[in-house]
């Protein structure tokens, strides 16, 4: 469990990191390292250079604007967990962050690292897809649903780097959110997870319902729902490819995804009624 040799270098600016990435296709960025370090230890990746971006000024900012909330790539997961501003502006992310690893990994793990590595079980990626967030990179901004292509595979162009996530801000009135997950123990990789954001209109009608599934599928999926019902959710899940491993088969994950989607929807409905 020791990484193959590499050179460790600290970038002082995004521009410098970009230059180093462009110069060497085998270089990798390290932010908090909570996904990359296990991959290095198991030699699933063998980079020539590991570029530390923790010292770059301004990448760890949480900016709550009128229409958007922008989180820098180096924002630690624990900072999201402890942020009253995020709890108010992005309650779904606040709920989901408690399922991201364990307190010691959240202390190091970052928003950008989670998105950049695109682990299919990543809760932050699921919330980004569910809420229609944008992945900000040095190359371009990507809609989250177009960014995640396959497990550990994204649309990030070679030589580019994730710089942050931008969430649309939804008015707090008549908004409910829910998050549910099943894993071997609290904080482990999700076998299935569901995230829901429900917004009611002035007359109490459903103005928008967003329900996303992660963990079960190779990438997070925003469900295309005809109605907020169990039958509609089951129909939306039916054509989706489910992952499988010895602990959780595809059939189990599909059933779990349906049950968790119902839980998340129920939580959002109860919250919006309260």
């Amino acid at each position: 469990m020791k990484p193959a040799p590499f050179e460790y270098i600290r970038a002082e600016s995004v521009l410098q990191a970009q230059e180093w990435l462009a110069a060497d296709p085998e270089a990798r960025v390290i932010a908090g390292g909570q996904t990359l370090m296990p991959m290095l230890a198991m030699r699933l990746v063998r980079p020539t250079r590991v570029i530390d971006i923790a010292g770059i000024a301004g990448l760890d900012t949480i900016a709550v604007g009128a229409d958007h909330v922008t989180l820098g790539a180096m924002v630690r997961q624990v900072a999201v967990e402890r942020s009253a501003a995020v709890a108010q502006a992005l309650p779904l992310l606040s709920k989901a962050i408690r399922f991201v690893g364990h307190p010691p990994t959240r202390r190091r793990g970052t928003i950008g690292g989670s998105v950049a590595n695109a682990d299919p079980a990543a809760e932050i990626a699921l919330v980004a897809v569910t809420q229609g967030a944008e992945v900000l990179t040095t190359a371009d901004a990507f809609a989250a649903r177009d960014y995640f292509l396959a497990p550990m595979t994204t649309a990030l162009p070679a030589g580019a780097m994730v710089t942050g996530l931008r969430f649309p801000r939804v008015a707090a009135a008549r908004r409910g959110t829910g998050f549910a997950e099943v894993a071997m123990r609290q904080g482990d990789y999700a076998m299935a997870a569901a995230a829901c954001e429900l917004v009611l209109g002035a007359g109490g009608e459903v103005a928008s319902l967003r329900l996303g599934i992660g963990g079960a599928t190779p990438v997070p999926v925003l469900l295309d729902l005809a109605a907020p019902t169990r039958e509609a959710i089951a129909a939306a899940l039916a054509p989706l490819e489910m992952m499988h491993d010895p602990n959780a088969g595809a059939g189990y994950r599909r059933r779990a995804a349906l049950a968790l989607a119902m839980q998340a929807l129920d939580e959002a409905q109860r919250e919006v009624m309260a």
Binding site: P5, Y8, M37, G101, P103, P104
Partner: protein
């Protein structure tokens, strides 16, 4: 690479390979063997140390990433040679260990929890140690130990 790590209040100049984890730097570079190596990929929590007072996994950090931060290992939580801290003593009192392999990680996780939350509920204690595995499955007494340590710390003048 050459680097300086602040470990238990002392600056240590080390020469390490770039790929060296903080865990290996502490055990083999500094020579402090109290930080245990378990899975070495972030699952078991036995390598937990404090970074600027907060619990982190030393196997999931490069030594180089710890430069400029204060690292506290299990050796750094005792009040003096041959003495135990209140948290360590509470683990002894409730028999919060069997084989002892997970104990340094459990104790440091408890220290970090109690620093932020002097009155944790049972659920909060369980959540705090959710990332630490005890292969002896002695969780019951570990939870008791942390609750006892919280109570003693509340009544104590010394941290």
């Amino acid at each position: 690479m050459k680097l300086v790590l602040n470990v238990n209040g002392t600056d240590r100049a080390l020469e390490l390979e770039d790929r060296t984890s903080l865990l290996d730097a502490l055990r083999d570079g500094v020579g402090l063997k109290g930080t245990h190596a378990g899975c070495e990929h972030g699952v078991c929590g036995t390598c937990t140390v404090l970074l600027d007072g907060e619990a982190v996994r030393s196997c999931l950090m490069l030594a180089a990433q710890a430069e400029g931060h204060a690292v506290t290992t299990i050796e750094g939580v005792t009040p003096g040679p041959g003495e135990l801290s209140i948290v360590q003593d509470s683990f002894v009192e409730t028999h919060g260990m069997q084989c002892g392999y997970c104990t340094p990680g459990m104790v440091l996780t408890a220290v970090a929890l109690l620093r932020d939350n002097p009155t944790p509920t049972r659920d909060e204690i369980v959540e705090a140690i959710s990332g630490n595995l005890c292969r002896c499955t002695g969780y019951g007494q570990i939870v008791e130990a942390i609750a006892l340590a919280a109570e003693r710390l509340r009544r104590s003048n010394t941290p």
